[in-house]
Each structure stands twice: as C-alpha cells, then as structure tokens.
Symmetry: D3
Subunit: 136 residues, 6 copies
C-alpha cells in the first residue's frame, strides 16, 4: 500500500531570468520583462510529495514534522527573502526559471530522504504558472 | 530531466447536456436539470500541462508566453462567452460534458505542440467537479 | 455584541447582458461579448451575511441550518441551472448584471429575516469580478 | 480515450493519533500534540478520482450524480461530525492518520465501482497536509 | 490615513455545541449532529484585522512580526490541537459556537493592542461558514 | 441603491523595506530579513472596490471593462515585473510597506474615478498578510 504524502510550504524571493554569457539585449529579447536588471519577485508556493509504504507501526509514510523541518532547513531558510540570482549557489550559473528551480529543490531534498521513498516537487511561481519535477 | 509546466486559463460559457437524436423527455431523464433547454453556464477553469526536457539554453520546457498565447487563440477566443452547443463546431453532434470538452481541448492543442512534448489538460466545470485527459 | 454570520452558496446559470428596449447593435456596443444572443454562463458564488446580537441561549446570531435552507429555497432552487433572462421573473425587464442580481437576491432574502437582523450579500460572477449590496 | 473524473466532498471530524497498545507516554513521544487524549479535529477535504473510458452514449465516464451520492452515503454520512477513533469501525484498532484514512476511504469506495474503472483518493487533513492513494 | 492590516492564522480543534444546563435530548434537538457527545472538529482559519494610522517612521500600522507573535501566543498556543469545551477556560460555561469563539478571541487580543488601534476578527469554521466581530 | 463592485488584479514585483536616511544596521534592526539589500519579491494580489449608485440604464455601477483597463494602465503597467524601490516614483523616498503601497495605489486611482464613486483598495502581499485602505 503505497501512499503519497504532500506538504505545502512557501517562500518569497526576488529573481530575474538571465544568462551571464548573453548580453542584456539578448536576455531581453528572449526573456522579456522577466529579465529586468533590477529584478522582480514572487511568492513561491511549494508542494513536496513523498511516496512510500505506510509504516504499520505509526501509520505514517513519513512523519510530517520531519518533512516540514526538512523543507524548512533545506529550502525555506536558504531561499526565503533572498535574491535567487545573487544569494543561492546553484543559480550563480543557472537561469532561475521555475523549471530549473524545481530541479534544484528536488536535488536538495533527494539525498535527505530514505532510498525507498519517491520524491516529486511542484512549484507555483504565480497562481497561474507552476511546474512539477519527479526526478525522471 | 523531464519537467511538467502547467498554465491556467479560464473561460465563461453556456451549455446544456443534450443529444439531438434523443427527445427532450429522454434527455431530461438522463441528464436532469443539466439538460434545461434554455441552457445554464459555468466559469470553466483550465490547466494545460506540457511535459518535456528542459532546454539547457533557456531553462524552459516551453516558453510560457508561447503557451499562454496558444491557449488564448485555440481555446479562450473560440470558447469564451460562447454557447458551446450552438457556437463551437465540435459540439454540433457531441454532448458537451466535461469529459468530452477535455478531449476536444486536448485535440485542438496537440497539433500545435512539438512532437517530443507530452500534453495533459484538466478542466474544472465547477470548483467541485473536474476532469483530466492526457491523450491515452 | 453584534456579530456577522456569513454563509456561502453557489449556483450555475446562463445569462446575457441585454435590454429589450435596445436593438442588438446597441446592446453589443454597450455590453460587448456579454450580450451574445446565444448566452454565456457563470458559476456564481454567493455569500450571505447576517448581522445581529448573539442569542445568549444558543450562542447563535441565526441558526446556520435555517440560513442554509433559506438560501437554498429562495435563491439556489430558482436560480441554479437556469437561464436568468428567461426563467427568473425579476430579469424579465431588468438587465442581469452582477449589480442587479445582488439587489434581487437581497430583496428576496430580506423579508424572510427578522427585522432586527441586518443583511448584506456578496456575489462573485467570476473569481475576479464580484459585487456587494447591503440595502443602503 | 480514458478520462479521469474528479469529485470533491468534505466532512468535519474529531480524532487523535493513538495506538491502544502503547501507553500515553509513548503515544505522546511519537505523535506529539496530535495525540491529545481530549481529541482535536479537522475539516477534511476529499477528492475522489475515477478513471475510465467515456461512454459514447452519455459522454460520461461516470454519472456525477451517482458518484456524488456514493461519496455521500459511503463516506460523508459515516464520517461527518463523528469522532473517528470512537465511531468509525475501521479505526477501532487502526491509527487514524491521513494515510490510513485514505486507504480506508479507498477500500469503502472500491467495491461500489465497476471493475473497469480505476480509483484514486486525495484527502486534505489541513490546507498544507494531504495524501493520495490509488490502490497500488 | 487609516489603513487596516490583516493577518491570517489557523488552528485545528475539537468541539461540540452543548449547554451543560440542558440534557442531551435538548442539546440534540437544538444543535443536531453538532452536539455529538464524542465531539467533532474543524480547521479554524482566523483573520485578525487591525486598523490605525500609518507610523510615518516605519510605514507600518503595526509590525506584522509583533501581530503574528501576538496571535501565536494568545490564540494558537491555547487553541490549537485542543478540545475547546474541555481545555479552553472561556468555554467551560459558554457554548463554543463560531459567534462566541469570535468574541472570546477578540476579548483575548483587545487588551494587548494599543488603545488607538481598532480590532476586528473573522473566524472560518468551515470554508462555507464564517463570522466577523469588531467589538461593537 | 448603492452597490460595491470589486475587481481583482495582480502584479509581481521586487522590493525591500528600507529608509535611505537610516544606515543598513538600523534598517535591519527594524525591518529584519525584509530589508535584504539584494531585494526579495511578491505576487501582489489587488482588489479595487468601487461603490456607487447603479446606473438604471446599464445596470452597472461602473463598466468593468473600464475599471479593468484603469487598473491595468495605472497600476499593473507601472508596477508589474518592476523593482518598487528603484522604478516606482512614489517609493523613491517612501518605504514600500504594504500599507504605503495601498495608499499609493489609492492615490493613483482616485483622480481617475468620478467624484460620486467611493474607492477602497485591498492589497495582498502574501496569502496571509494583506491591507485595506479607503481614503479616510
């Protein structure tokens, strides 16, 4: 009996879509107003989904207090109220699109979970734009 | 690294559940108040989900401006503020249930996307009733 | 100690913005696509707000079961899955804008409530457009 | 053409996380404040998802009135305004975690659906914690 | 320039509608299934609204960190994961209806705010039932 | 018969809480992580509420297409995908707290509305923090 447990979290951050190896003209041609050099920002809403067997002793797939703390220390602390391009290591040379952010978040959480648990992340950049990544 | 990009849209339309080859009595027996000959309507909420590899150059699976425009021209323009039974070609001889609408929407969008992208659509008829179709 | 009790309800209906005493050209000039002669429709979300003193015996301003039934019989039954222009008496000669609908709903509910209770109604036509009327 | 039809429902219930074969100290050590002997409670939000072929005659995978009634009689009536630990049979000896509740709900609905329909359930315990079970 | 600052919070609790001075038969006749002796529960969603002048130095009506902490210590800690009838002092002899709960919450917060600030509270018992109290 | 018409809009922007006449140490002491010199950002959700008499000819308090365009040109264009501190004139010497932003938005819209219409604005900075200003 495999069940998926989902936990929501959020963080507020500034970013711009931007490649260092392109000049500003090319960045604007491809990324439009999302490439504003003064940045813009979002209330990111994150859902972390963990799939596994129910532990017959506790009735949990994963203790939600553990999952909540994991998201807090691995994602919320380093991302919340930050400028993603400047202050998050992975985006020094990676464009912080929602797609790349979902992969970065997945890569941060995956090593912290037991191997027999599956992981997917859904990231809302706005209420109308969101992405899902499950490591495949 | 396959990521799914989701984009939400909406349109307001009138419809009735109805088969031309059934008389009104049979339509009412099967479809109840949803078959009211004077129509009723909904705020349809649509999520279009596109799955594919992240383009390493842009960090996009698909440019959301492109996807937003595609949904606008292929779905919102022809469906918004319309009577689905009377004004949308596919429903001339097809009952506009949420299930059939999801298939029609998928069929309109599929040819506009590159072959290596996968497509799924979710259509909310009301906040409590919704359907998903992914072409299988 | 005056408290306001709010109860949400919903109904799905077709309508068009339209004045019988204007020709179709003028209706379209003023009301645009909302005047489509084949109708369009909405999932209307209604909040009914009743303000009054807390009854010290029950702890209620108004019994929510009573309020829920009142909304059901006075508003949901006559409006749900209906064509407002054709099937609701008040809109025979009144344009069913959200503003006029809020007044009609308030007028239907007001006589059913005790005189010492105040009434306000909020009607969502779409998630982005809504109106409030409190009888003043 | 397989489509998934989703229907939302809700119920309000009290529960505590608790194993009868553990003493109170151990229950509190593992389940924290969720093990309060005086109970706490939730507004559970349930989505029932049924996947199958569209019936070409009706345009339905399943008649939503049928699905709505099924959820009402099998889940809402027995769970709503109840104490899950005391009043729901399955939780006499099973900890009512969200995971176990999803399995119990799935097990109650599965025998009522035709064999060629697939079933998944999603249960929100709070707006930030939810689980999904699809019988695998 | 008076601005209202709103902060949302939530807590999960068990309760029953019940008067000690009525027998079970009368409690059930008046309060129905809400009077279940084994309790039921809710995810209460609370909005605290504070109105006052903007401090020209900070640009704040009230520092949201201060307001968030006030709600946490005065309301969330004493109400969350509790049985309101048994574990919250004010409801020892007061029926925990949403109306009475809004007044109790207002009475707990009012003395902690400066006199020149106005206070209102909105409490959602379910997504469809909620109440507002502003001390008048 | 005075009715209030509400229209929702949104914009994404970067900002920091900051006074030019304070040094960084004092800004951080008062505004905490909200004063990060590299900025953070939000998906701001705006509700504009206009109160007035229903025009008996159209059934409108204000034509929603007019209100939508007004919000678009006066607020969304100048604020969306911008850095509020750097790129919006009013915040050159005014701290862009939610309170000050609501006043600035109100001041931009008020001169564009007829004198017999009342105006209020509600601005969500996050789903849990929001402010209201009505010009008093």
């Amino acid at each position: 009996m495999k069940v998926t447990v989902h936990r929501k979290a959020h963080f507020n951050a500034a970013h711009r879509l931007y490649r260092k190896d392109w000049d500003q003209e090319k960045n604007e041609a491809v990324f439009g107003k999302c490439s504003n050099p003064n940045y813009h920002g979002h209330n990111y809403e994150l859902t972390v989904s963990v799939t596994g067997l129910i532990d017959p002793e506790t009735g949990f797939v994963i203790d939600l207090k553990v999952l909540k703390d994991l998201i807090y220390y691995e994602i919320e602390i380093p991302f919340d109220h930050k400028n993603l391009n400047i202050e998050v290591e992975e985006f020094q040379d990676l464009n912080p699109t929602a797609e790349n952010m979902a992969v970065v978040i997945w890569n941060r959480l995956r090593p912290k979970l037991k191997l027999d648990l599956e992981l997917a992340v859904t990231l809302y950049e706005t209420p109308r734009n969101f992405v899902t990544y499950s490591g495949n």
